[in-house]
Each structure stands twice: as structure tokens, then as C-alpha cells.
Amino acid sequence: MPITPEEDRRLREIAKELRMTVIDVMAWAGGAHVGGSLSCLDILVALYFKYLKLNPADPEWEERDRFILSKGHAAASYIPVLSKRGFFPHDELRSFNHFGSPFAMHPDCNKIVGCDVSAGSLGHGLPIAFGLGAGFRFQGRNNKVVCLMGDGECCEGSIWEAAMSIAHYKTTNVIPIVDRNMLMIDGTTEQEIGLEPFAEKWRAFGFQPLEIDGHSFPAICHALDIAWAAKDRPVVIIAKTVKGKGVDFMENRLEYHYASGDSTMCEKAKASIEAMYREG
């Protein structure tokens, strides 16, 4: 069922606030993977504020769905999302990257309340997601497992090893999502090491690929509805996104893969975010 305009507005408001927080985190942390954090933020918002079954008052609740940020460098948006969802206070984000902080460039489930799996070494998430999904199925449990990967990360062979397993064992409780922002560190994916025909690769591996606009909540939610209902054939969501989305001078720019910013730059970034949401 398509989401209502009110739902769309609610999710957009949350996303706007979190985009501002990503900029704050970049300043507090002394630098962040801001580009890839902003590209996947709307997907994270849809998952955490509409789809994932969670209980922030009981973070270890057995019936919760699991989320794996396989592109662990997007911690600058993922960790604020957990905070906004109620797992820990917003003010704690100020410690980001500093000695003794639970929060760093890559999320650590040993330290972060609400984080299911440590991530950062690319290519690790999907095998773990498959294991979780297979484990839940062994036990007759209905938990879903969502794994968010970067497109550049899909150069890692282990992603495709896991894709074969998910398709073979039909663990449709595992939902892979790729943040297809087209950029890696050294260049575009297609310049560096071509991924296309990307959807066809997933299709050939046994998945139903859904290519969507990764910044449109109606599109994201429609795809997640299909993925949530999948029975016989696993779904992969290929979310076409813009690296640095929301900050005009960061969008599609390699130099904002990782960046730090002074107060002037942060103000400029926030003004740009404000403008994007004002213009709809």
C-alpha cells in the first residue's frame, strides 16, 4: 500500500533533522564519511522509523529485526539514527571519535546500544546476514534481517558468495539493500571497476532486483513492502542515490567521501539542507 502524504512528510522531517545531525557529527568528530552517510540516510530512516521491529527500551529483545550496516563507514548517519530512535541520548553523539567514546568511524556492536553487528571491513555484512537469516529459520523465528551495502563494496567477492547462499537456501527473510551512489574513493564505480549491468548480476544470482530512487520515501517503502513479503525468491533493493545528498556543494563530489568542516562550512551545509527541504 502506498504511503500517505502524512507518512511521507513525517519521514522527511525526521530525515531533515538527521541530515543536520550528520553535519554536526562531522564537526564533533573532526571528520566523517559524510558523502556516503547522506546517500543512505533516507533508507535508514524508512527502516528505523517504519519497518524494523525494535524496542529501544529493550535493545536485546529477541523478537527484534536485525540490521547490518555492512557499509560501516556510514556510521555518521547510522549512529544518529539509533539515537533519534531512542537507543541513547542525542548529546552522547558529541563524543564521536574521541577517546573512550562508543562511537567511531565504523560502528561497534560491543559498545553501541542498538547496534546488532560490528561493521567496517567491507564485504562482511551479507555473509553474517545470511547466517542470521538461516539461524532464525532453523529456529522457526520470523525476524527479518536487513543488510545495507555500498555499491563499491560489491567489488568484494564475499558479497557474491553470500548472494549465492541466500538465493540457494531461499532465505527471503534476508533483505539486501545496495546504496547505489555510483562513487567510490578514487572515482566512479564505472570508471574504476565497472559494476554494470548491476541489477542483471543480482538477477543472474537468483534475486528479484528492485531499482528505486533511494531518496523517495514512497519508492523506498514500496520496495520494502515487496521485500518484506518475499517468499520464494529473495529481493535485492538497488537504491539509486546521490552521494552527499542534501548538501549542494557535496553532491556527487569525490572530495566529500570523507571530509571535515569548520563552522562556516557546517552552516553553509545546513543552509543547503534547509533549502532542499523548503523546495520539496
Binding site: 556492536c109 532453523f138 558468495e161 553470500a162
Partner: protein, 335 residues
Amino acid sequence: MAVTGTNWTCYDSSTMTSREIYGRTLAELAREDNRIVAVTGDLEKSTALNKFGEVFPERIINVGIAEQNLFGTAAGLAKSGLIPFASTFAIFACLRAGEQIRTDIAYQNLPVKVIATHAGLSFGHAGTTHHCTEDFAVMRAIPNMTVICPADGVETSMAIRACMDINGPVYMRIGRGFEPPCYEDENHPFEIGRANVMRGGTDITVITCGIGVLQSLNAAATLEEEGISVRVVNMHTLKPLDREAVIAAAKDTGRILTVEEHNVIGGLGDAVACVLAEEGLSVKFRKHGMQDVFSAIGYAEDLYAHYGLDANGIAEQIRLMMGVISGIDDNWEDE
């Protein structure tokens, strides 16, 4: 088939390989504990997990030839509340998927039991690509990891049981399982982190594990006839190491020979040497194993003979250390 002890043991060490015993023991354990699942990568038969799969076809996952995925999957299974036993050849576990074992399993302190088969030189004729004489070094250096190397099938069975009590990851290395048994039955203690003194002796102690245990016992029997009294310590757990057993050996016998089917860098010998140094114990000491070389190709028993890891080779090392024959510096005490 012999069935001895409690109902979880089910083996006949004279007709079954340690791998088969592993698979059978796991199946027995799994009857009592429904958290046990098994994962492998196209080596169900080779790792003998098919013995488990025959009994619990719904509790085994074969991910194909994909070791990174194998250990990532094991981490995920553990995260869902299960206790996965993940098996492949030792070399693929410790190096091909070393980062998955380190980051996905050990860092999150997950109860994944890595049962690595075909370790050391045991798959000799497969060639050096399939040998593994580096795994102790790699696995010992990973925090949270318990490292075990049982002496034979009987001890493998006991170790499989014992590692269920470890609330974290375990790396257990076994061979192909064609090595002759060392224990006749399981009427001996097995406690992770506590070495077993297999034979008393006063002149020298051999501290060893895996295939070295039986070979050292055979060497000790030969040397007894020559008037050399050899203590043999089965250090089945490399981490945490039984420091007391090392200290006792140093104080009681003054000479220690370590024997391992592994590079002498980073393995059992280094672990023992570290205890001696930290305790300030001066003994005549020698590390016997692969002397930082890649192994040759040949049937396992020929390789053991070539590298002196059989009873003859170990006896020779002991004679050298005892000064019965020359070849090493006899004046070590003056330096």
C-alpha cells in the same frame, strides 16, 4: 562400534578417523543441545560433517567453496542464538578467512567453534598449498580465541564436548585422522587449559600436542632403554597455555624440547619459551618443528620422518639435547 562413557561419546578409535569421530560426536552432542548447527564449504565429506548431516540434515549448511562466507555465516548463526561448528581445511580457515574469524567471530566474542581439519602436514600429498603450519601463530594472536590441538580421535571427542563450555570462539585443529590413536579410551582427564602429563620423567620434558604426543611417547619408550628418562606433556591447549606445567617441567627436568607440527615461529615452542623467559627460568631449551620453511610434498608419514616429527626424529632431538650425540652446542651453559 564401541560406545563408552556417557552417551555423547560414540566412536571406535581403531576404525574411525578423528574427523569421523568429530562428526559423530557432534551429532551425539546435538541430540542434547538443539543450538548446535554445522557449517562447511563443500567439505562435508572431507571434514566428516556428513556424519552430523546424516543425523541432522536440517541443521547443516553447505555454502559451497566460499570460506569467507562460511565464517561470516557462522558468525550470523551465532548471533541468532545458535552454536555453530564451522569446518574446513585449516589453511583456508586461518588464512583465507582469517579476517572473518578475527573480526566477525572473535571480536564479537561469538561462540563459533572452528574445527579445522587437514592441519599441519597431514594432507602431505595434496601439496604445500594444502598444508597448514601457520595456524597456531595466527589464532593465538587473536584476542578471545581459545586454541586447541587434540592428540587423537579420543581426545578430539573430549575436546569437542569441552569446547561447548567455552562461551566464546574456539579454534581446534585436527589432522586427516589417519594418525594412530594415542589414548585407548577416555579414562583420562581433559580440561581446556590444563596439560596432561602422559609419562613421568626426570631428565628432559617434551612439551607437545597433536601427533607429537604419540610420537614423543614412542621416543620416550625407546630412550628409556638407553637410560634417558623423558617426561611427555600433552599441551593440547595452546591458549590459554598451562603455565604451571611448563614451570614444573623446567624445575623438575631442566631441559625442555617442544615438538609441534607447525612453524617454530609463533607456535607452541614460542608460547613455552615465553613462559620460561617471563618466569626467569633457565633451562636447556629447543624448539622442534618446521624451521621456518615451506613444507615439502609427500605422504604425511614421509614428511613426518623427513622433518623429524616421528618417534625417531624426536628421539634424535632428545639425544642431542642430552649430549649423547653431538650436533648442537654442548657448551650452552657457559654462554
